[in-house]
Protein backbone atom coordinates (compact mmCIF):
# COMPACT_ATOMS: atom_id res chain seq x y z
CA UNK A 1 0.00 0.00 0.00
CA UNK A 2 2.77 2.36 1.05
CA UNK A 3 4.67 1.58 -2.15
CA UNK A 4 1.56 2.16 -4.23
CA UNK A 5 0.96 5.56 -2.63
CA UNK A 6 4.61 6.44 -3.20
CA UNK A 7 4.34 5.32 -6.81
CA UNK A 8 1.15 7.35 -7.24
CA UNK A 9 2.76 10.47 -5.77
CA UNK A 10 5.88 9.98 -7.89
CA UNK A 11 3.79 9.64 -11.01
CA UNK A 12 1.87 12.86 -10.43
CA UNK A 13 4.79 14.93 -9.19
CA UNK A 14 7.39 14.07 -11.79
CA UNK A 15 7.03 17.61 -13.14
CA UNK A 16 6.84 19.30 -9.79
CA UNK A 17 6.30 22.96 -10.60
CA UNK A 18 3.60 22.35 -13.19
CA UNK A 19 1.93 19.75 -10.95
CA UNK A 20 1.97 22.00 -7.88
CA UNK A 21 0.51 24.91 -9.91
CA UNK A 22 -2.15 22.58 -11.22
CA UNK A 23 -3.02 21.26 -7.75
CA UNK A 24 -3.25 24.78 -6.32
CA UNK A 25 -5.53 25.86 -9.17
CA UNK A 26 -7.57 22.74 -8.66
CA UNK A 27 -7.96 23.40 -4.95
CA UNK A 28 -9.39 26.82 -5.74
CA UNK A 29 -11.70 25.18 -8.27
CA UNK A 30 -12.93 22.77 -5.59
CA UNK A 31 -13.54 25.62 -3.18
CA UNK A 32 -15.55 27.48 -5.81
CA UNK A 33 -17.38 24.35 -6.99
CA UNK A 34 -18.23 23.19 -3.49
CA UNK A 35 -19.16 26.77 -2.61
CA UNK A 36 -21.56 26.92 -5.55
CA UNK A 37 -22.89 23.45 -4.81
CA UNK A 38 -23.44 24.42 -1.21
CA UNK A 39 -25.49 27.40 -2.37
CA UNK A 40 -27.44 25.15 -4.77
CA UNK A 41 -28.07 22.68 -1.98
CA UNK A 42 -29.04 25.34 0.47
CA UNK A 43 -31.39 26.94 -2.03
CA UNK A 44 -33.05 23.66 -2.90
CA UNK A 45 -33.32 22.54 0.72
CA UNK A 46 -34.71 25.91 1.68
CA UNK A 47 -37.24 25.78 -1.11
CA UNK A 48 -38.16 22.24 -0.11
CA UNK A 49 -38.73 23.30 3.50
CA UNK A 50 -40.74 26.31 2.36
CA UNK A 51 -42.97 24.09 0.24
CA UNK A 52 -43.36 21.58 3.05
CA UNK A 53 -44.56 24.42 5.26
CA UNK A 54 -47.46 25.22 2.90
CA UNK A 55 -50.79 23.84 4.07
CA UNK A 56 -53.20 22.06 1.72
CA UNK A 57 -56.13 24.40 2.52
CA UNK A 58 -55.48 28.07 3.15
CA UNK A 59 -57.49 31.22 3.74
CA UNK A 60 -55.75 34.55 4.06
CA UNK A 61 -57.68 37.03 6.23
CA UNK A 62 -56.92 40.73 6.13
CA UNK A 63 -58.48 42.83 8.86
CA UNK A 64 -58.41 46.55 9.53
CA UNK A 65 -59.59 47.48 13.00
CA UNK A 66 -59.79 50.62 15.07
CA UNK A 67 -56.48 51.48 16.70
CA UNK A 68 -55.79 49.80 20.03
CA UNK A 69 -58.82 47.53 20.04
CA UNK A 70 -57.85 43.97 20.90
CA UNK A 71 -59.55 41.70 18.41
CA UNK A 72 -57.40 38.67 19.26
CA UNK A 73 -57.95 37.77 22.89
CA UNK A 74 -60.64 35.14 23.01
CA UNK A 75 -60.56 34.59 19.25
CA UNK A 76 -59.10 31.11 19.70
CA UNK A 77 -62.24 29.94 21.51
CA UNK A 78 -64.13 30.23 18.21
CA UNK A 79 -61.67 28.22 16.13
CA UNK A 80 -62.27 24.48 16.08
CA UNK A 81 -60.67 23.46 12.77
CA UNK A 82 -57.25 24.27 11.37
CA UNK A 83 -54.49 26.47 12.65
CA UNK A 84 -54.69 30.23 12.88
CA UNK A 85 -51.60 32.42 12.83
CA UNK A 86 -51.12 36.17 12.87
CA UNK A 87 -48.18 36.99 10.61
CA UNK A 88 -47.45 38.94 7.43
CA UNK A 89 -46.76 42.55 8.31
CA UNK A 90 -46.23 41.98 12.02
CA UNK A 91 -42.82 43.11 13.26
CA UNK A 92 -41.88 43.44 16.91
CA UNK A 93 -38.79 45.07 18.44
CA UNK A 94 -36.19 42.66 19.82
CA UNK A 95 -33.82 44.34 22.23
CA UNK A 96 -30.87 41.94 21.80
CA UNK A 97 -30.78 42.21 18.01
CA UNK A 98 -31.45 45.95 18.08
CA UNK A 99 -33.96 45.67 15.24
CA UNK A 100 -37.64 44.90 14.79
CA UNK A 101 -38.13 41.36 13.56
CA UNK A 102 -40.87 39.60 11.69
CA UNK A 103 -42.86 37.61 14.19
CA UNK A 104 -45.60 34.99 13.90
CA UNK A 105 -48.17 34.69 16.62
CA UNK A 106 -50.11 31.49 17.05
CA UNK A 107 -53.73 32.29 17.68
CA UNK A 108 -54.95 28.72 17.66
CA UNK A 109 -53.38 25.37 16.93
CA UNK A 110 -55.73 22.45 16.28
CA UNK A 111 -53.28 20.39 14.28
CA UNK A 112 -49.55 19.99 13.84
CA UNK A 113 -47.68 23.13 12.80
CA UNK A 114 -45.18 22.94 9.92
CA UNK A 115 -42.31 24.47 11.94
CA UNK A 116 -39.30 22.14 12.08
CA UNK A 117 -38.13 22.01 15.68
CA UNK A 118 -34.44 21.55 16.31
CA UNK A 119 -35.08 21.28 20.02
CA UNK A 120 -37.83 22.04 22.53
CA UNK A 121 -41.35 22.91 21.49
CA UNK A 122 -43.64 25.67 20.29
CA UNK A 123 -45.20 28.07 22.81
CA UNK A 124 -48.82 27.64 23.83
CA UNK A 125 -49.02 24.34 25.68
CA UNK A 126 -50.76 24.02 29.04
CA UNK A 127 -47.54 24.33 31.00
CA UNK A 128 -46.98 27.80 29.54
CA UNK A 129 -50.08 29.20 31.16
CA UNK A 130 -49.35 32.61 32.63
CA UNK A 131 -45.81 32.67 31.26
CA UNK A 132 -44.20 34.68 28.47
CA UNK A 133 -42.65 32.11 26.17
CA UNK A 134 -41.31 32.03 22.64
CA UNK A 135 -39.76 29.69 20.11
CA UNK A 136 -36.90 31.10 18.05
CA UNK A 137 -35.10 30.22 14.86
CA UNK A 138 -31.43 29.26 15.19
CA UNK A 139 -30.17 32.64 14.11
CA UNK A 140 -32.35 34.51 16.62
CA UNK A 141 -31.46 32.02 19.34
CA UNK A 142 -27.85 33.22 19.16
CA UNK A 143 -29.02 36.51 20.71
CA UNK A 144 -30.63 34.94 23.76
CA UNK A 145 -29.16 35.24 27.21
CA UNK A 146 -29.04 32.83 30.11
CA UNK A 147 -30.84 33.25 33.40
CA UNK A 148 -31.88 30.63 35.96
CA UNK A 149 -30.72 27.85 33.64
CA UNK A 150 -33.07 29.01 30.90
CA UNK A 151 -32.56 31.16 27.82
CA UNK A 152 -34.40 34.46 27.42
CA UNK A 153 -34.98 37.13 24.82
CA UNK A 154 -36.52 40.58 25.20
CA UNK A 155 -39.43 41.39 22.91
CA UNK A 156 -41.27 44.72 23.35
CA UNK A 157 -39.33 45.23 26.58
CA UNK A 158 -40.76 42.00 28.00
CA UNK A 159 -38.66 39.02 28.87
CA UNK A 160 -39.64 35.81 27.04
CA UNK A 161 -38.39 32.41 28.01
CA UNK A 162 -37.24 30.42 25.00
CA UNK A 163 -38.94 27.02 25.03
CA UNK A 164 -37.95 25.83 21.57
CA UNK A 165 -35.43 26.30 18.79
CA UNK A 166 -36.72 26.14 15.23
CA UNK A 167 -34.46 24.98 12.40
CA UNK A 168 -34.34 22.41 9.65
CA UNK A 169 -31.63 21.39 7.25
CA UNK A 170 -31.64 24.78 5.54
CA UNK A 171 -31.71 28.27 7.03
CA UNK A 172 -35.37 28.74 6.07
CA UNK A 173 -36.56 28.87 9.68
CA UNK A 174 -33.43 30.43 11.18
CA UNK A 175 -34.83 33.95 11.65
CA UNK A 176 -38.23 32.91 12.94
CA UNK A 177 -39.80 34.26 16.11
CA UNK A 178 -42.96 32.43 17.14
CA UNK A 179 -45.15 33.54 20.02
CA UNK A 180 -48.57 32.39 21.19
CA UNK A 181 -51.36 34.94 21.71
CA UNK A 182 -52.15 33.37 25.08
CA UNK A 183 -48.55 33.79 26.24
CA UNK A 184 -47.69 37.36 25.29
CA UNK A 185 -47.29 40.20 27.75
CA UNK A 186 -49.41 43.34 27.87
CA UNK A 187 -46.74 45.50 26.23
CA UNK A 188 -46.43 43.05 23.38
CA UNK A 189 -50.18 42.92 22.93
CA UNK A 190 -50.32 46.73 22.93
CA UNK A 191 -47.63 46.78 20.25
CA UNK A 192 -49.57 44.25 18.19
CA UNK A 193 -52.91 46.07 18.35
CA UNK A 194 -51.35 49.45 17.72
CA UNK A 195 -50.90 48.36 14.13
CA UNK A 196 -54.61 48.12 13.25
CA UNK A 197 -53.91 46.28 9.98
CA UNK A 198 -53.51 42.53 10.32
CA UNK A 199 -52.84 39.56 8.14
CA UNK A 200 -53.97 36.23 9.48
CA UNK A 201 -53.84 32.77 8.04
CA UNK A 202 -56.39 30.09 8.67
CA UNK A 203 -54.88 26.87 7.37
CA UNK A 204 -55.24 23.12 7.52
CA UNK A 205 -53.73 19.94 6.19
CA UNK A 206 -56.68 17.91 7.52
CA UNK A 207 -59.78 19.86 6.54
CA UNK A 208 -60.82 21.06 3.11
CA UNK A 209 -61.38 24.64 2.13
CA UNK A 210 -65.18 24.39 2.61
CA UNK A 211 -64.71 23.55 6.29
CA UNK A 212 -62.27 26.43 6.67
CA UNK A 213 -64.79 28.75 5.02
CA UNK A 214 -67.30 27.88 7.74
CA UNK A 215 -64.62 28.47 10.33
CA UNK A 216 -63.84 31.82 8.75
CA UNK A 217 -67.47 32.91 9.08
CA UNK A 218 -67.19 32.45 12.86
CA UNK A 219 -63.95 34.43 12.93
CA UNK A 220 -65.51 37.18 10.84
CA UNK A 221 -68.44 37.45 13.25
CA UNK A 222 -66.05 37.50 16.23
CA UNK A 223 -63.99 40.39 14.83
CA UNK A 224 -66.99 42.44 13.82
CA UNK A 225 -68.60 41.90 17.24
CA UNK A 226 -65.35 42.98 18.93
CA UNK A 227 -64.92 46.07 16.74
CA UNK A 228 -67.97 47.21 14.83
CA UNK A 229 -65.92 49.61 12.70
CA UNK A 230 -63.49 46.98 11.47
CA UNK A 231 -63.36 45.64 7.95
CA UNK A 232 -62.43 42.06 7.17
CA UNK A 233 -61.55 40.49 3.82
CA UNK A 234 -60.62 36.92 3.09
CA UNK A 235 -59.21 35.14 0.05
CA UNK A 236 -58.62 31.50 -0.61
CA UNK A 237 -54.89 31.17 -1.09
CA UNK A 238 -54.06 28.71 -3.86
CA UNK A 239 -50.63 30.00 -4.77
CA UNK A 240 -47.50 28.09 -3.90
CA UNK A 241 -45.93 31.32 -2.68
CA UNK A 242 -42.80 33.03 -3.84
CA UNK A 243 -39.80 30.81 -4.44
CA UNK A 244 -36.80 31.50 -2.20
CA UNK A 245 -34.31 30.09 -4.71
CA UNK A 246 -33.38 33.22 -6.66
CA UNK A 247 -33.22 35.17 -3.44
CA UNK A 248 -30.81 32.65 -1.94
CA UNK A 249 -28.58 32.75 -5.02
CA UNK A 250 -28.53 36.55 -4.94
CA UNK A 251 -27.88 36.72 -1.21
CA UNK A 252 -25.17 34.09 -1.26
CA UNK A 253 -23.53 35.69 -4.32
CA UNK A 254 -23.32 32.49 -6.33
CA UNK A 255 -21.92 34.45 -9.29
CA UNK A 256 -18.68 34.98 -7.34
CA UNK A 257 -18.20 31.22 -7.36
CA UNK A 258 -18.87 31.10 -11.10
CA UNK A 259 -16.33 33.85 -11.76
CA UNK A 260 -13.70 32.15 -9.58
CA UNK A 261 -14.39 28.87 -11.39
CA UNK A 262 -13.98 30.49 -14.81
CA UNK A 263 -10.72 32.17 -13.75
CA UNK A 264 -9.46 28.83 -12.48
CA UNK A 265 -10.38 27.15 -15.76
CA UNK A 266 -8.37 29.77 -17.63
CA UNK A 267 -5.54 29.14 -15.18
CA UNK A 268 -5.83 25.41 -15.83
CA UNK A 269 -5.43 26.03 -19.55
CA UNK A 270 -2.28 28.09 -18.92
CA UNK A 271 -0.87 25.51 -16.54
CA UNK A 272 -1.65 22.76 -19.04
CA UNK A 273 0.42 24.69 -21.59
CA UNK A 274 3.47 24.73 -19.31
CA UNK A 275 2.76 21.19 -18.22
CA UNK A 276 2.85 19.86 -21.78
CA UNK A 277 5.88 22.00 -22.63
CA UNK A 278 7.70 20.39 -19.69
CA UNK A 279 6.64 16.95 -20.92
CA UNK A 280 7.31 17.52 -24.60
CA UNK A 281 10.51 15.52 -24.56
CA UNK A 282 8.96 12.67 -22.59
CA UNK A 283 6.01 12.52 -24.97
CA UNK A 284 8.23 12.67 -28.03
CA UNK A 285 10.29 9.78 -26.64
CA UNK A 286 7.12 7.83 -25.92
CA UNK A 287 5.95 8.48 -29.44
CA UNK A 288 9.29 7.42 -30.85
CA UNK A 289 9.01 4.16 -28.92
CA UNK A 290 5.61 3.24 -30.19
CA UNK A 291 3.02 5.09 -28.14
CA UNK A 292 0.14 5.96 -30.44
CA UNK A 293 -1.85 9.17 -30.17
CA UNK A 294 -4.79 7.46 -28.45
CA UNK A 295 -2.56 5.91 -25.85
CA UNK A 296 -0.80 9.21 -25.18
CA UNK A 297 -4.07 11.11 -24.97
CA UNK A 298 -5.41 8.45 -22.60
CA UNK A 299 -2.26 8.86 -20.53
CA UNK A 300 -2.73 12.65 -20.38
CA UNK A 301 -6.34 12.23 -19.30
CA UNK A 302 -5.29 9.71 -16.66
CA UNK A 303 -2.60 12.08 -15.38
CA UNK A 304 -5.01 15.02 -15.19
CA UNK A 305 -7.58 12.88 -13.39
CA UNK A 306 -4.89 11.66 -10.97
CA UNK A 307 -3.99 15.28 -10.21
CA UNK A 308 -7.65 16.12 -9.71
CA UNK A 309 -8.21 13.18 -7.38
CA UNK A 310 -5.10 14.12 -5.45
CA UNK A 311 -6.33 17.74 -5.21
CA UNK A 312 -9.74 16.50 -4.07
CA UNK A 313 -8.15 14.43 -1.31
CA UNK A 314 -6.10 17.45 -0.22
CA UNK A 315 -9.21 19.63 -0.35
CA UNK A 316 -11.23 17.20 1.78
CA UNK A 317 -8.33 16.81 4.20
CA UNK A 318 -8.04 20.59 4.54
CA UNK A 319 -11.79 20.83 4.97
CA UNK A 320 -11.81 18.10 7.61
CA UNK A 321 -8.83 19.65 9.43
CA UNK A 322 -10.34 23.12 9.38
CA UNK A 323 -13.94 21.96 9.73
CA UNK A 324 -14.86 24.32 12.57
CA UNK A 325 -13.54 27.31 10.71
CA UNK A 326 -14.64 26.30 7.21
CA UNK A 327 -18.11 25.14 8.27
CA UNK A 328 -18.91 28.82 8.78
CA UNK A 329 -17.96 29.48 5.15
CA UNK A 330 -19.26 26.33 3.52
CA UNK A 331 -21.05 23.16 4.47
CA UNK A 332 -20.48 20.20 2.22
CA UNK A 333 -23.48 17.97 1.71
CA UNK A 334 -22.64 15.02 -0.50
CA UNK A 335 -25.88 13.77 -1.97
CA UNK A 336 -26.53 12.40 -5.43
CA UNK A 337 -27.18 15.77 -7.15
CA UNK A 338 -24.07 17.26 -5.51
CA UNK A 339 -22.01 14.29 -6.56
CA UNK A 340 -23.30 14.46 -10.13
CA UNK A 341 -22.60 18.19 -10.34
CA UNK A 342 -19.13 17.64 -8.90
CA UNK A 343 -18.48 14.99 -11.55
CA UNK A 344 -19.73 17.45 -14.17
CA UNK A 345 -17.32 20.13 -12.94
CA UNK A 346 -14.42 17.65 -12.89
CA UNK A 347 -15.33 16.46 -16.39
CA UNK A 348 -15.49 20.03 -17.75
CA UNK A 349 -12.17 20.94 -16.11
CA UNK A 350 -10.54 17.78 -17.47
CA UNK A 351 -11.74 18.46 -21.01
CA UNK A 352 -10.64 22.10 -20.97
CA UNK A 353 -7.30 21.25 -19.39
CA UNK A 354 -6.35 18.59 -21.91
CA UNK A 355 -7.44 20.40 -25.09
CA UNK A 356 -4.06 22.04 -25.70
CA UNK A 357 -1.99 19.01 -24.63
CA UNK A 358 -4.07 16.77 -26.90
CA UNK A 359 -3.44 18.99 -29.92
CA UNK A 360 0.25 19.15 -29.03
CA UNK A 361 0.47 15.38 -28.88
CA UNK A 362 -1.31 14.92 -32.20
CA UNK A 363 0.90 17.47 -33.96
CA UNK A 364 4.17 16.35 -32.43
CA UNK A 365 6.73 14.63 -34.69
CA UNK A 366 9.04 12.66 -32.40
CA UNK A 367 12.05 13.17 -34.66
CA UNK A 368 12.01 16.92 -34.04
CA UNK A 369 11.93 16.64 -30.27
CA UNK A 370 14.06 13.58 -29.68
CA UNK A 371 16.84 13.28 -32.19
CA UNK A 372 18.87 16.24 -30.97
CA UNK A 373 21.27 15.90 -33.87
CA UNK A 374 22.10 18.73 -36.23
CA UNK A 375 20.99 16.92 -39.37
Amino acid sequence: MKIRIKHFLNSIFRYRIASVCFVVGQLIIYFSVFGALQIYNMASLKEEERKEAIYDSRIKIEAVSTDNIDIFSGMSDNIEFGNMVLSGRLVLPVKETGIASTTEIIIKGNEEFPYIMESGRLPGTGEDSGKLVAALGRERYKYTYEKNQSRYITICDEEYEVVGVIGGESDYWDNSIVLCIDNVGSKTLDEIISGSKYEMHLESNIYDIETLKLEYEDIFRFIVERDGRSSVNAVIDKSSGQSTTENTYARQKIEVNYIVYIFCLVNSVLVSYFWIEARKREIAIRKAFGFGNFKLIGMLFADVIKLMVFSLVIFLAVYAAGYRWLAGIMRIYINLPTFMRLLGAIFLTTIITVIYPVFSVIRMMPSKSVAGSDD
Binding site: R14, Y15, R281, E282, I285, R286, A288, F289, G290, F291, G292, K295, M365, P366, S367, V370, A371, G372, S373, D374, D375
Partner: protein
Protein backbone atom coordinates in the same frame (compact mmCIF):
# COMPACT_ATOMS: atom_id res chain seq x y z
CA UNK B 1 15.13 -5.87 -45.59
CA UNK B 2 15.09 -2.10 -46.03
CA UNK B 3 14.48 -0.59 -49.48
CA UNK B 4 14.37 3.14 -50.13
CA UNK B 5 13.36 4.24 -53.64
CA UNK B 6 13.62 7.83 -54.80
CA UNK B 7 13.26 9.25 -51.29
CA UNK B 8 12.99 13.05 -51.08
CA UNK B 9 12.53 14.91 -47.83
CA UNK B 10 11.79 18.63 -47.68
CA UNK B 11 11.13 19.91 -44.16
CA UNK B 12 9.39 23.22 -44.81
CA UNK B 13 8.74 24.37 -48.35
CA UNK B 14 8.03 27.88 -47.09
CA UNK B 15 11.51 28.16 -45.61
CA UNK B 16 13.59 26.39 -48.22
CA UNK B 17 13.07 24.33 -51.33
CA UNK B 18 16.38 22.58 -50.74
CA UNK B 19 15.67 18.97 -49.79
CA UNK B 20 17.26 17.42 -46.72
CA UNK B 21 17.30 14.21 -48.73
CA UNK B 22 17.26 14.11 -52.51
CA UNK B 23 16.43 11.02 -54.54
CA UNK B 24 17.91 8.52 -52.12
CA UNK B 25 17.91 4.91 -53.29
CA UNK B 26 19.23 2.41 -50.79
CA UNK B 27 18.88 -1.26 -49.89
CA UNK B 28 20.05 -2.77 -46.61
CA UNK B 29 19.83 -6.51 -46.14
CA UNK B 30 18.84 -8.28 -42.94
CA UNK B 31 21.67 -8.70 -40.45
CA UNK B 32 23.93 -6.04 -41.97
CA UNK B 33 26.11 -3.73 -39.88
CA UNK B 34 26.05 -0.42 -41.72
CA UNK B 35 27.38 3.01 -40.95
CA UNK B 36 26.15 6.27 -42.42
CA UNK B 37 28.73 9.01 -42.51
CA UNK B 38 28.76 12.56 -43.75
CA UNK B 39 29.35 16.13 -42.59
CA UNK B 40 26.99 18.04 -40.34
CA UNK B 41 23.74 18.92 -42.06
CA UNK B 42 24.25 16.33 -44.79
CA UNK B 43 21.00 14.49 -43.99
CA UNK B 44 22.30 11.49 -41.99
CA UNK B 45 19.78 11.80 -39.16
CA UNK B 46 16.98 12.59 -41.59
CA UNK B 47 17.75 9.34 -43.39
CA UNK B 48 17.75 7.48 -40.08
CA UNK B 49 14.45 9.05 -39.04
CA UNK B 50 12.87 7.98 -42.30
CA UNK B 51 14.21 4.43 -42.01
CA UNK B 52 12.98 4.38 -38.41
CA UNK B 53 9.46 5.62 -39.40
CA UNK B 54 9.93 8.59 -37.12
CA UNK B 55 9.44 10.89 -40.07
CA UNK B 56 7.77 10.55 -43.45
CA UNK B 57 9.45 11.24 -46.76
CA UNK B 58 7.99 13.99 -48.93
CA UNK B 59 8.32 11.77 -51.99
CA UNK B 60 9.44 8.23 -52.77
CA UNK B 61 8.77 4.71 -51.64
CA UNK B 62 9.94 2.90 -48.52
CA UNK B 63 9.60 -0.87 -48.33
CA UNK B 64 10.31 -2.47 -44.97
CA UNK B 65 10.38 -6.27 -44.85
CA UNK B 66 8.29 -6.36 -48.01
CA UNK B 67 5.67 -3.89 -46.81
CA UNK B 68 5.16 -0.55 -48.56
CA UNK B 69 5.34 1.67 -45.49
CA UNK B 70 3.65 4.75 -46.92
CA UNK B 71 0.62 2.90 -48.21
CA UNK B 72 -0.07 1.53 -44.70
CA UNK B 73 -2.71 2.89 -42.38
CA UNK B 74 -1.47 4.99 -39.46
CA UNK B 75 -2.03 2.03 -37.14
CA UNK B 76 -0.09 -0.39 -39.31
CA UNK B 77 2.66 2.22 -39.72
CA UNK B 78 2.99 2.54 -35.93
CA UNK B 79 2.92 -1.23 -35.61
CA UNK B 80 5.71 -1.64 -38.16
CA UNK B 81 7.86 0.74 -36.17
CA UNK B 82 7.05 -0.89 -32.85
CA UNK B 83 7.66 -4.44 -34.07
CA UNK B 84 10.79 -3.91 -36.13
CA UNK B 85 12.77 -0.90 -35.08
CA UNK B 86 14.78 0.11 -32.07
CA UNK B 87 16.42 3.51 -31.64
CA UNK B 88 19.56 4.70 -29.92
CA UNK B 89 20.10 8.46 -29.91
CA UNK B 90 23.20 10.60 -29.55
CA UNK B 91 21.93 12.29 -26.40
CA UNK B 92 20.38 9.02 -25.22
CA UNK B 93 16.82 10.42 -25.30
CA UNK B 94 16.12 9.05 -21.86
CA UNK B 95 13.22 10.46 -19.91
CA UNK B 96 14.88 12.45 -17.13
CA UNK B 97 12.12 11.98 -14.62
CA UNK B 98 11.98 8.21 -14.95
CA UNK B 99 14.29 5.51 -13.60
CA UNK B 100 16.45 3.31 -15.84
CA UNK B 101 13.90 0.52 -15.39
CA UNK B 102 11.00 2.78 -16.36
CA UNK B 103 12.88 4.04 -19.41
CA UNK B 104 13.53 0.52 -20.65
CA UNK B 105 9.92 -0.41 -19.90
CA UNK B 106 8.64 2.23 -22.33
CA UNK B 107 8.41 0.25 -25.60
CA UNK B 108 6.91 -2.70 -23.72
CA UNK B 109 4.17 -0.47 -22.32
CA UNK B 110 3.47 0.67 -25.86
CA UNK B 111 2.96 -2.97 -26.81
CA UNK B 112 0.67 -3.66 -23.82
CA UNK B 113 2.85 -6.48 -22.54
CA UNK B 114 1.83 -7.81 -19.14
CA UNK B 115 3.69 -6.72 -16.04
CA UNK B 116 5.36 -10.04 -15.18
CA UNK B 117 6.50 -10.57 -18.74
CA UNK B 118 7.68 -6.95 -18.90
CA UNK B 119 9.67 -7.42 -15.76
CA UNK B 120 11.37 -10.52 -17.15
CA UNK B 121 12.16 -8.87 -20.51
CA UNK B 122 13.57 -5.76 -18.84
CA UNK B 123 15.75 -7.80 -16.51
CA UNK B 124 17.06 -9.83 -19.47
CA UNK B 125 17.91 -6.66 -21.42
CA UNK B 126 19.54 -5.02 -18.40
CA UNK B 127 21.56 -8.10 -17.66
CA UNK B 128 22.71 -8.31 -21.28
CA UNK B 129 23.91 -4.69 -21.11
CA UNK B 130 25.37 -5.11 -17.59
CA UNK B 131 23.21 -2.48 -15.94
CA UNK B 132 21.00 -4.61 -13.72
CA UNK B 133 22.27 -2.83 -10.62
CA UNK B 134 21.25 0.55 -12.08
CA UNK B 135 17.54 -0.29 -12.41
CA UNK B 136 16.30 2.18 -9.79
CA UNK B 137 18.62 5.05 -10.75
CA UNK B 138 17.54 8.21 -12.49
CA UNK B 139 19.48 9.06 -15.69
CA UNK B 140 20.96 12.15 -14.05
CA UNK B 141 22.66 9.89 -11.49
CA UNK B 142 24.31 7.72 -14.15
CA UNK B 143 27.44 8.16 -16.28
CA UNK B 144 27.18 8.79 -20.04
CA UNK B 145 28.16 5.21 -20.78
CA UNK B 146 25.55 3.82 -18.42
CA UNK B 147 22.92 6.09 -19.91
CA UNK B 148 23.75 4.88 -23.42
CA UNK B 149 23.55 1.28 -22.22
CA UNK B 150 20.10 2.02 -20.83
CA UNK B 151 19.18 3.52 -24.20
CA UNK B 152 20.47 0.43 -26.01
CA UNK B 153 18.62 -1.86 -23.59
CA UNK B 154 15.44 0.11 -24.28
CA UNK B 155 15.98 -0.26 -28.04
CA UNK B 156 16.56 -3.99 -27.77
CA UNK B 157 14.04 -4.96 -25.12
CA UNK B 158 11.24 -5.68 -27.57
CA UNK B 159 13.43 -7.94 -29.66
CA UNK B 160 13.53 -5.59 -32.65
CA UNK B 161 15.28 -6.75 -35.83
CA UNK B 162 16.61 -3.33 -36.87
CA UNK B 163 18.62 -1.15 -34.50
CA UNK B 164 19.19 2.47 -35.54
CA UNK B 165 21.88 4.34 -33.67
CA UNK B 166 22.19 8.08 -34.25
CA UNK B 167 25.68 9.19 -33.18
CA UNK B 168 25.66 6.66 -30.33
CA UNK B 169 29.13 7.67 -29.19
CA UNK B 170 28.79 11.39 -29.87
CA UNK B 171 28.24 12.29 -26.23
CA UNK B 172 30.74 9.80 -24.82
CA UNK B 173 34.46 9.72 -24.15
CA UNK B 174 36.58 7.51 -26.40
CA UNK B 175 36.83 4.51 -24.09
CA UNK B 176 33.11 4.46 -23.39
CA UNK B 177 32.41 5.03 -27.10
CA UNK B 178 34.50 1.98 -27.98
CA UNK B 179 32.59 -0.05 -25.42
CA UNK B 180 29.27 1.03 -26.91
CA UNK B 181 30.43 0.06 -30.41
CA UNK B 182 31.51 -3.32 -29.08
CA UNK B 183 28.02 -3.81 -27.68
CA UNK B 184 26.43 -2.79 -30.99
CA UNK B 185 28.63 -5.26 -32.86
CA UNK B 186 27.62 -7.99 -30.43
CA UNK B 187 23.99 -7.17 -31.07
CA UNK B 188 24.60 -7.34 -34.81
CA UNK B 189 26.31 -10.69 -34.39
CA UNK B 190 23.11 -12.05 -32.89
CA UNK B 191 21.28 -11.28 -36.17
CA UNK B 192 19.97 -7.74 -35.69
CA UNK B 193 20.47 -5.24 -38.50
CA UNK B 194 22.40 -2.31 -37.06
CA UNK B 195 22.65 1.09 -38.75
CA UNK B 196 24.96 3.59 -37.13
CA UNK B 197 25.05 7.27 -38.03
CA UNK B 198 28.42 8.73 -37.15
CA UNK B 199 30.92 11.52 -37.84
CA UNK B 200 33.71 9.26 -36.72
CA UNK B 201 35.46 7.45 -39.59
CA UNK B 202 37.14 5.17 -37.03
CA UNK B 203 33.75 3.85 -35.99
CA UNK B 204 32.56 3.62 -39.61
CA UNK B 205 35.53 1.45 -40.48
CA UNK B 206 34.44 -1.12 -37.94
CA UNK B 207 31.17 -1.71 -39.82
CA UNK B 208 30.66 -4.02 -42.80
CA UNK B 209 29.42 -1.28 -45.10
CA UNK B 210 29.81 2.49 -45.17
CA UNK B 211 27.16 4.70 -46.72
CA UNK B 212 28.34 8.23 -47.33
CA UNK B 213 25.91 11.07 -47.65
CA UNK B 214 26.53 14.66 -48.71
CA UNK B 215 23.99 17.46 -49.21
CA UNK B 216 21.17 14.99 -48.98
CA UNK B 217 22.47 12.66 -51.65
CA UNK B 218 24.24 9.34 -51.39
CA UNK B 219 27.81 9.51 -52.59
Amino acid sequence: MIELKGIVKIYDKNVSDKPALNNVNLTIDDGELVSVIGPSGSGKSTLLNIIGCMDRATEGQYILNGVDVYSCSRKKYDLLRKDNIGFVFQHFALMDKFTAYENIELPLLAQNIKRTQRNRMINDAMERLGILSERGKMPSKMSGGQQQRVAIARALVTGCNILLADEPTGALDQATGREVIRILKEINASGTTVIIVTHDSGIAEQTNRIIEICDGELV
